[in-house]
């Protein structure tokens, strides 16, 4: 029983991450009709916003101590973070909360980046073949990750969650079960809540604002909306920027779980495409549903009891489920006819 609950939690958590990335991807599909292979790179850029923020905070005053030397004979350097030197305790607090606080940095950065990317590049590919879109965005993804690599190196860079949410919570005890049976990290719960909040915000935005209504109409029938004299293109730019922000924030908040490195976007890329397609191209609820479904199934397939019967099932479960779903439901869980079918 406890195993099931734990794996369910794992699945929800994983699903939250998948859904967040897939959400932006499917938004871009649905509105702009663009296959964005650089979406993983946007996720990675978000994560590196957190890294950059942390690095900025930890900029150090370097003084040398001539009386001591390093093992290779140069004078020993003594480093004191600026922020600690100037702001004292508040500085420490900010450093402690650097991951959540860096959201403040990530939002404008990702907005700007999404805006530039759409206006400067994606815009010109609306009417090009999907293959061309794939090639150009894939090229962009490589360029972005190589730039990150040349700045930050290839090694993962650890980011820590704030002290207050660093450990694990004993959920079991809180529910009256034996203590220590169901333990779950605070940060993962924070991430799950965060994912839920972002998903809800995006849905609310599309559901309850006029802007959202136009975008939804555009997703349904772009041509007609264009005929109504509504400048749909400008709105799509904003949609793209929003998708970039969603991916970026997903990246920021994921850093304490997965120390970011330059390649993390590519690692998520294929998976997020599978999620989007299983959900149905251009369907936001579909992407969210598929994200959670695949996350949960993956968690359960990894259980020892199941692996004992079907060795290696955890390695292929996502793809297996994708195949089955696509064969049973031609357009994924909630896909519409005619989107990306040719």
């Amino acid at each position: 029983m406890d195993v099931i609950i734990l794996q369910l939690l794992n699945g929800l958590d994983k699903g939250g991450a998948y859904a967040l990335i897939a959400l932006g991807l499917t938004l871009i599909f649905g509105t702009l009709g663009v296959v964005n292979f650089a979406h993983g790179a946007l996720f990675m850029l978000g994560a590196f916003c957190a890294v950059t923020f942390n690095k900025l905070l930890s900029l150090e005053i370097v003084t040398t101590d001539p009386t001591k030397t390093t093992a290779w004979g140069t004078p020993l350097e003594i480093r004191t973070p600026y922020i600690e030197a100037y702001l004292g305790d508040f500085g420490n607090w900010v450093l402690n909360y650097s991951v959540p606080v860096s959201i403040l940095l990530a939002i404008p950065v990702m907005l700007l980046f999404g805006f530039i990317m759409e206006r400067g590049l994606i815009k010109h590919f609306y009417n090009r073949a999907h293959a061309d879109q794939i090639l150009v965005t894939f090229g962009l993804a490589i360029v972005l990750q190589e730039i990150i690599k040349s700045i930050f190196g290839a090694n993962p860079i650890p980011q820590t969650a704030p002290d207050a949410v660093r450990g694990a919570a004993d959920i079991g005890a809180a529910l009256g079960m034996d203590p220590g049976v169901i333990v779950y990290p605070y940060w993962r719960m924070v991430y799950l809540a965060f994912a839920g909040a972002i998903i809800a915000a995006v849905f609310a935005f599309l559901q309850f604002t006029t802007f959202g209504m136009v975008v939804r109409a555009g997703m349904a029938d772009r041509h007609t909306v264009g005929l109504l004299g509504i400048n749909i293109e400008r709105r799509f730019t904003i949609v793209f920027a929003i998708a970039a922000v969603v991916a970026g924030l997903a990246g920021v908040m994921y850093t304490p779980i997965l120390p970011p490195d330059y390649h993390m976007g590519m690692d998520f890329l294929v998976l997020s495409f599978v999620v989007v397609v299983v959900g149905g191209m251009g369907s936001l609820p579909g992407a969210v549903a598929a994200g959670f479904l695949l996350g949960i199934l993956q968690s359960f397939a990894s259980m020892n009891e199941i692996k004992a019967i079907l060795p290696g099932i955890d390695q292929i479960i996502i793809y297996l489920v994708a195949v089955v779903i696509l064969l049973v439901r031609p357009r994924g869980l909630l896909g519409r006819k005619g989107v990306m079918e040719n």
């Binding site: 794992n10 093992a71 290839a154 993962p156 650890p158 969650a161 997965l258 120390p259 020892n304």
Partner: protein, 448 residues
């Protein structure tokens, strides 16, 4: 049009053609093994070309970059530039800092991408185009084994870089291939006594193992030695390579009754699984009245950097560490640190040493003939390279030397000072019979 012409600009093309192969006096067209005189790629000019084949892209790119730094340093020292590094402490005094066998050492580089195919393609380029007489490098066992067998078929020497699987000098060993780095068998033998002293003999271990040959090799070795001292293995679970999120493998550990988690992961997998295991509060747990502990049998500094403070107090083994205080280690750290501004990693160390060992063997043999060099390396005893007295065993081309057991440092003084050496397990404790791991060296191939 100008776009595609640009990279193919005629002048740069011609120069690119001359690339690295300034050493190559002979035209490469129609050079074949039958054509060359005594052995493949016999150096005829004033230079001898070595091939440094390291990961430059992918997850191990930083490790590869460090290996490349070490190689460049080694070449400098061999050619008499810099402070001479380990040449000063090396027990063999054949090398004079004037090249090898009177020839200046030149090198070519390539990217393995940590993929067997790419690594072999890169090594082949070095052999076929650049005339490399020896290939070295690599940061994973799959690549090392693939390149080693290529070098065997082609007829050049392979000096393995970082490869930890038993198979490299076990069931996949080759007459032309040599490994200085240690292996999982030695990790197990060195680690077990330390674990026993710290955690006792009544422990239940849960293994998470990367699902490929190196992972299995390490799991087997660690199981063998920990079970030998009385530990019980609760479960050994295979995890897919590059899983990213390991939560679904970590949660079953919580209530499995195990009180030790052994992470048979390397690189990014290890960084992720350790970070997440700590997040799940495993290290704060009490099981069977004991503190729950995590063990990472193979450590590297780059991994420790990636996992950050999560490594504190966690035991593992390593081939070498820059904080060692013997003369050889101090000399290497000094010349590497002065050149690059930070201390070398164990990957850098093993690559540097391998280059010197190769050069020394060539010097002693008086030729670059792979078979003569192999003979000179086999059974070679040396010291002063940072690992104490070392033997290149003739039967399996594996170096036998002391193994370090390390622990994540509680209060690191810098981003490089993450591990502390808790024990130097003497060579005698980690030696094993040559036929233990199977395999067959076969005959030497000089490509002629």
């Amino acid at each position: 049009m100008s776009l595609i012409r640009k990279p193919l600009n005629r002048r740069s093309i011609l120069r690119a053609g001359a690339l690295g192969g300034a050493a190559l006096a002979t035209p490469t067209i129609f050079t074949s093994r039958a054509w060359s005189a005594g052995y493949l790629n016999e150096p005829t000019g004033a230079e001898v070309v070595l091939g440094f084949n390291v990961p430059q892209t992918g997850a191990y790119a930083d490790e590869g970059a460090d290996e490349l730094r070490a190689y460049q340093l080694a070449v400098k020292h061999l050619n008499g530039e810099g402070d001479g590094g380990l040449l000063n402490t090396f027990s063999s005094k054949e090398l004079q800092g004037n090249g090898v066998n009177g020839k200046k050492v030149a090198f070519v580089t390539g990217d393995t991408q940590t993929k067997s195919d790419a690594a072999r393609a890169s090594a082949k380029r070095m052999i076929e185009k650049d005339g490399a007489i020896m290939i070295t490098g690599g940061s994973s066992s799959g690549v090392a084994i693939a390149v080693q067998s290529l070098c065997q078929e082609a007829g050049v020497i392979f000096m393995a870089g970082l490869t930890h699987s038993n198979d490299t000098t076990g069931k996949d060993k080759r007459k032309n291939g040599f490994r200085h780095f240690f292996n999982t068998e030695m990790s197990g033998a060195a680690l077990a006594p330390v674990l026993k002293n710290n955690y006792g003999t009544d422990r239940k271990a849960y293994h998470l193992t990367a699902d490929y040959t190196w992972g299995w090799s390490q799991e087997e070795s660690i199981k063998k030695y920990t079970e030998g001292m009385g530990w019980e293995t609760t479960a050994a679970v295979r995890t897919p390579l590059g899983a990213g999120d390991f939560s679904q493998y970590i949660t079953p550990v919580l209530n499995s009754g195990a009180d030790v988690l052994v992470l048979n992961h390397y690189g990014k997998d290890m960084v992720n699984s350790l970070t997440q295991a700590v997040q799940f509060g495993l290290r704060d747990k009490q099981v069977n009245g004991k503190d729950f502990v995590i063990v990472v049998p193979l450590y590297s500094r780059l991994m420790a950097q990636g996992a950050g403070e999560n490594v504190k107090g966690i035991f593992g083994s390593t081939n070498w560490h820059w904080s060692l205080q013997d003369e050889g280690s101090k000399a290497f750290v000094k010349s590497f640190g002065q050149e690059y501004g930070f201390p070398p990693s164990q990957a850098a160390h093993t690559c540097y040493v391998q280059t010197l060992l190769y050069a020394d063997a060539a010097q002693r043999a008086g030729t670059f003939d792979p078979c003569a060099i192999a003979a000179a390396l086999e059974g070679f005893e040396f010291d002063g390279m940072g690992n104490g007295p070392t033997l290149y065993r003739a039967e399996d081309h594996q170096c036998f030397k002391d193994v370090l057991v390390v622990k994540g440092k509680e209060n690191p003084s810098s981003q490089f000072d993450l591990l502390e050496v808790v024990e130097i397990t003497p060579r005698s404790q980690v030696e094993y019979p040559a036929d233990l791991l199977g395999g067959e060296l076969g005959a030497c191939n000089n490509g002629a």
